[in-house]
C-alpha cells in the first residue's frame, strides 16, 4: 500500500449503542468503540468528526465523555444531509469517529475560582462536560453557576440533568425560555436577563459561554460590563469545518484556523475578529 494523507483522516468505527430524542430536531447518540480501544481521551469543549456511511462527515462537539464513566455521547441537531443521517441511525449501526480535535474549556485554570457557565440553545451540549467535570471535582471550585436559555420549554435540553443540578445546594442553576405557554411556570425572557442574579466575584471568576453567535456577543458584553476580564471569558465559535486538522482552509477566521486554535477561545483573542462583519 502506497502512502496517503495522514492516517488521522481515516475514521475509527464506533457502534451506536443508544440514540434518544432530546427535542423536536435534536438527538443524542451514545457511541462505543468497535474492537480496538477507541480514540484518545478528550477534554471538555473538543469535538469529533462523525461520519455517516455514504453521506459524509460533520464536526460535532462531545457532550458526554467516557472518562466520566459512560459512553461517548454526541448531541446532534438534524439540519443538513449528514446530521440528518446521523439522527436517523439505529442502535447497532456503525458510524465513523475521528478526533478529538480543537481546544478545550480551561477547567484546570478555573480551579479555586468562581465558575459561570452561560449556555444558549444547543450550546449547552459542549458545556455539559464542564458541568460534569466541575461537579465531580466540586471542592476544587468556589461558586459555580449555570444560566441557560432555550427557545421554548420543548427545546430545553437535558431537562432531567438540569433538574438534578438545580436541586443541589452548591450550584446556582437558572433556566429561561424565549416564549412559553402557561404550563411552563418558569422564567420567560432572554438568557442575559438571568445574569444579574448570578453571584460571582468579577475579580476572580472564569466564564464559559456557548450558543448562537448573537447570544454569545450579548452575554459576553454583559459579563464584561459587570467587570469580568476578557481573558477570563471563553467562547466557543462555529465555523465550516471539513478536515478538522487545519489543512482544508474552510474554518479560517482571520489568521486563526478555528479547528486548531479553537473552537474554544478566550474572548480577548477573538474579539477584534468577531467585530469585523462577515470575516
Amino acid at each position: 500500500m502506497g502512502p496517503g494523507v495522514a492516517e488521522r483522516l481515516v475514521p475509527s468505527p464506533y457502534a451506536l449503542a443508544e440514540i434518544w430524542r432530546e427535542t423536536a430536531d435534536v438527538w443524542s447518540l451514545a457511541l462505543e468503540p468497535r474492537g480496538r480501544d477507541g480514540l484518545p481521551a478528550a477534554a471538555p469543549g473538543q469535538f469529533n468528526m462523525l461520519y455517516a456511511f455514504g453521506v459524509g462527515e460533520a464536526p460535532i462537539s462531545i457532550s458526554g465523555m467516557p472518562e466520566g464513566g459512560g459512553p461517548l455521547v454526541h448531541t446532534v441537531r438534524a439540519v443538513g444531509n449528514v446530521t440528518r443521517a446521523l439522527c436517523e441511525a439505529r442502535p447497532g449501526d456503525v458510524l465513523g469517529v475521528r478526533g478529538p480535535y480543537g481546544s478545550s474549556w480551561p477547567v484546570e485554570a478555573a480551579r479555586g475560582r468562581d465558575v459561570v457557565v452561560v449556555a444558549g440553545g444547543i450550546g449547552l451540549a459542549p458545556l455539559r462536560p464542564v458541568l460534569t467535570h466541575v461537579i465531580a471535582h466540586r471542592d476544587e471550585y468556589r461558586r459555580v453557576a449555570l444560566v441557560y436559555g432555550a427557545r421554548t420549554p420543548a427545546d430545553v435540553l437535558y431537562r432531567s440533568a438540569l433538574e438534578r443540578w438545580r436541586s443541589r445546594f452548591d450550584l446556582h442553576v437558572d433556566v429561561t425560555v424565549d416564549s412559553a405557554g402557561r404550563g411552563w411556570g418558569g422564567n420567560v425572557g432572554h438568557v442575559t436577563d438571568l445574569l444579574p442574579s448570578v453571584p460571582f466575584d468579577v475579580a476572580d471568576a472564569v466564564a464559559f459561554v456557548c450558543g448562537p453567535e448573537i447570544m454569545m456577543r450579548f452575554a459576553v458584553r454583559d459579563l464584561l460590563d459587570r467587570g469580568a476580564s476578557p481573558a477570563d471569558v471563553h467562547v466557543s465559535l462555529e465555523r465550516n469545518m471539513k478536515c478538522a486538522v487545519g489543512l482544508c482552509g474552510h474554518c479560517q477566521l482571520g489568521a486563526e484556523f478555528v479547528c486548531r486554535s479553537g473552537p474554544v477561545y478566550p474572548y480577548e483573542r477573538v474579539s477584534p475578529l468577531l467585530g469585523v462583519r462577515e470575516l
Binding site: 462527515e57 462537539s61 444558549g120 432555550a150 420567560v188 425572557g189 447570544m215
Partner: protein
C-alpha cells in the same frame, strides 16, 4: 415582627438603589405594600393602567392572549424588577395581561400621584425617569433578542456538516 417603613423597603429595592433618601420619602407617599397569591391577576389587557409596581419578591408573568396561541408568556419578572409603563402616558391602559406566578410581594404606586410628584419636583422626576428609561432600554434589548429567535436557526455544535447541501450525484456534488 418588626415593621419597616416604606422608604426603607424602597431603599433596598434594585430600582431605587442609591436614590436620595428625601426622594424616596417623597415617592413613598404614593405607595403601599401589596401581595398576590399565585395565579392572581395583577392587570388585564384593557384595564385602566394607573399603577407602577416595584416587585420585592416573587415572580409575575406578562402574557398575551391570542386565539391561535392561547396564553403566551412573553416575559417573567422577578425580585427587584419593576412592572408597568402604561401609567406614564394617556390613555393609561394596560396592553398585556399580568399574572402572579409565585407568591409575590410588591410596592404598588399610584400613577396619578407619582406623575404629580414628578411634576412638582422636576429634579426628582428626572432622577426617576433616568432610572425608568434604563429599565426600558434593557427590556427593549432583551425583547429584540427574543424576537431574533436566535435559537431557531441554530447550529449543530462546532460547525456544519462537511458535505451539507451537496447533491449525491454520480460525482458527489
Amino acid at each position: 415582627m418588626e415593621t419597616r417603613s416604606l422608604d426603607e423597603l424602597l431603599g433596598e429595592h434594585n430600582f431605587f438603589e442609591g436614590m436620595d433618601p428625601r426622594y424616596l420619602t417623597f415617592i413613598a407617599g404614593c405607595g403601599r405594600n401589596v401581595a398576590f397569591h399565585p395565579g392572581a391577576w395583577i392587570a388585564r389587557d384593557g384595564d385602566a393602567a394607573d399603577s407602577f409596581y416595584a416587585i420585592r419578591h416573587g415572580q409575575v408573568a406578562i402574557e398575551v392572549h391570542s386565539p391561535r396561541t392561547g396564553a403566551l408568556v412573553i416575559q417573567t419578572l422577578g425580585d427587584g424588577a419593576v412592572l408597568g409603563w402604561s401609567w406614564l402616558f394617556p390613555p393609561y391602559r394596560w396592553h398585556f395581561d399580568v399574572r402572579a406566578v409565585e407568591p409575590t410581594r410588591a410596592v404598588q404606586f399610584d400613577g396619578t400621584c407619582l406623575r404629580g410628584k414628578c411634576d412638582d419636583d422636576p429634579a426628582m422626576g428626572y432622577e426617576f425617569m433616568k432610572r425608568f428609561a434604563r429599565v426600558l432600554t434593557r427590556s427593549l434589548e432583551a425583547t429584540r433578542l427574543q424576537l431574533l429567535d436566535v435559537y431557531g436557526e441554530e447550529r449543530a455544535p462546532a460547525g456544519a456538516a462537511a458535505t451539507e447541501e451537496r447533491p449525491l450525484g454520480p460525482r458527489g456534488g
